[in-house]
Assembly symmetry: C2
Homo-oligomer: 369 residues x 2
């Protein structure tokens, strides 16, 4: 089961995704749980935070613990103890960024595991099979990612292979319970993105994603490329902007018509003591928080802010205590999920523009550390 | 406020400790939160686990974040977000084991911080002042710890100084909200322990502890020394056996008349993947758990066992995921706290001997890894 309904009256869209594991109001932020766990956070906490869908990673889970282990333990839902919707990335990005000696051919990609050097070959068909084996709600097609410093020729080549792989992925589907999203490539080249959308947009994918964004391009370029592509992507299918981004990026992207997001920023930054607030980011390790009895953000309803002072959180970080990473991650995820809820509410009420103005008004450049 | 009532009908005692921050049923196990946090566990989880009192460490918190910071944030309760009773160790043990260049004199102990090499001097009076500054419910007298390999002469000297310091600690008390426990030293030498108890037992301490146990002595010696000492300690004051121990140690110690315990085993072992069960310890990282869908312990009511398989827990450990440490610690603390609850129930009902028989019957030597 996979259904998507969305209001297309304005560019900022409010919608609803229905999956076999529950509903997801969009625009939605997906916390990243690459290895079948959102780092330091329990499934119960994810529920309390209001997370409605999480992202896991096909590459990581395929290598360890392996498809058979996950499948035999009830699929990824049973394995990780999360009964809400799950989307997995196919692992194309990780093959390129983590694995060694990746060789891309028309047939698929050969690579060595970053864990033990073992040799693997994954075709687009196999990538679908792996993700269906995890029994997730949404699978992503295997794709080839590029970054801002790649030549047009390299980007075009990656896009062409990605298109061929997406078609093969569609033909390889066997499970009705796992939806399949295609990924639009083409770097910062409008015509390549457009060509990719033309070739895939009419096919029977359950959703479409934009890949290879936030890979070094300037912000204006990011928003321009995203805006042009989103405008051309199928209107009634979810549009997922992969790996994006900062709070500002989320606001801008929704303004351009995006529905789904994932990003490691709230979790990874949390673990280094970078905390998001409506006025900007703070570094909780800074000595100015040593005796600060205030919460990270006044008025924030998260467990961290309602229970602990900045001083205590700083103490945990300085002492290298494990609780530090969890409390910081909890706050950051709460910030992201609640930002998204407010964006969604504004989009649904048709007041996105005034929400956006208010969002930027509160940002205080002095808070940046 | 500090009151203790205890049934002294049998050697295994059931009692009740009343403090300004709530009641503690004894025998009680105190989870260790040296730096103002039980590693990886939130105060909310401690409550859910049934923990009624936690232990923190005077040495660690004195060095970082410092007495003034803790006091200004509402004392240790406010600082760490735990509103139940707290006992602090004075830090005597840490000065000897962690700090550099510790010099013990009649006046007190001089040492260099293990964090930054800074020079410090702590007298017994200062140790009381520090702990009263933390506003904890129970403070421990500054003492000198010895270990099993110390000579009788060294142990006797440490005991004599400890006695003098305990008397000075009593005279140094200023706050009615912080109870004070004396520590009995004397190593494995019955007559030295006895002399220490004779000199301190009649004084107005709120409780008495046995220090320097589990420092390398054989188990029979541990139980023998403990038993002889406990028999001589004041009957109507809580008897706290410091740093002890394994599940077997808890059962044996209660059988010998002990009321309070702290030990890093459930937390520290948890973080290395050693999990306690009623049949013995298991190492969750062992490959035999790779596809094991059972919980760590069948029938266990902890969050870990009711939510996750051994296979998932193993995966988290192998992948080095932060959630591993928390889930393992949760289970181990639950095991300890519930073991203590069952011990307590048996002691209260006068059925401790049959409880003990049943406890040992369930231990399966084959489960040891």
């Amino acid at each position: 089961m996979f259904e998507f309904s969305v209001s297309t009256e304005s560019r900022a869209r409010a919608g609803l995704l229905k999956t076999g594991h529950g509903e997801v109001a969009t625009p939605a932020f997906m916390p990243v749980g690459s290895q079948g766990t959102v780092k330091s956070i329990s499934p119960r906490e994810l529920k309390e935070l209001g997370a409605e869908i999480v992202l896991a990673n096909g590459y990581h889970l395929y290598l360890r613990p392996g498809v058979e282990t996950v499948r035999s333990l009830g699929g990824l839902h049973g394995f990780m103890g999360w009964d809400g919707p799950i989307l997995t990335d196919s692992g194309g990005y990780q093959v390129m960024s983590l694995a060694a000696n990746a060789k891309v051919e028309e047939a698929g990609v050969e690579f060595r595991s970053h864990l033990d050097g073992s040799l693997h070959f994954i075709s687009p068909e196999r990538a679908v099979e792996i993700q269906e084996g995890f029994m997730v709600d949404v699978a992503m097609c295997l794709d080839i990612c590029t970054s801002y410093d790649h030549s047009r020729k390299a980007v075009e080549h990656a896009m062409e292979i990605t298109v061929g792989w997406a078609k093969r992925s569609l033909a390889a589907r066997k499970s009705a319970q796992t939806a399949l999203f295609a990924i639009i490539q083409g770097g910062v080249f409008h015509d390549l993105r457009e060509r990719c959308i033309e070739r895939l947009g009419g096919l029977d994918f359950d959703g479409f994603a934009l890949g290879s964004l936030s890979t070094g391009e300037p912000k204006e370029t990011l928003y321009e490329v995203m805006g042009e592509a989103l405008d051309k992507m199928p209107e009634h299918r979810p549009r997922y902007v992969m790996g994006v981004g900062t709070p500002e990026d989320l606001v801008e992207s929704v303004g351009l018509g995006a529905d789904m997001f994932d990003c490691v920023l709230p979790t990874r930054n949390g673990r280094t003591g970078q905390l998001f607030t409506s006025s900007g980011k703070i570094n909780i390790k800074n000595s100015r928080h040593k005796d600060d009895e205030r919460p990270v953000e006044e008025g924030c309803g998260c467990y961290t802010c309602t229970s602990f002072s900045r001083a205590y959180l700083r103490h945990l970080f300085i002492a290298g205590e494990l609780l530090a990473y969890r409390l910081a991650t909890l706050h950051n995820l709460y910030y992201y999920i609640n930002l998204m809820a407010r964006i969604r509410e504004a989009a649904a009420k048709g007041s996105f523009d005034s929400f956006k103005k208010e969002f930027y008004r509160k940002r205080n450049p002095n808070e940046k550390e």
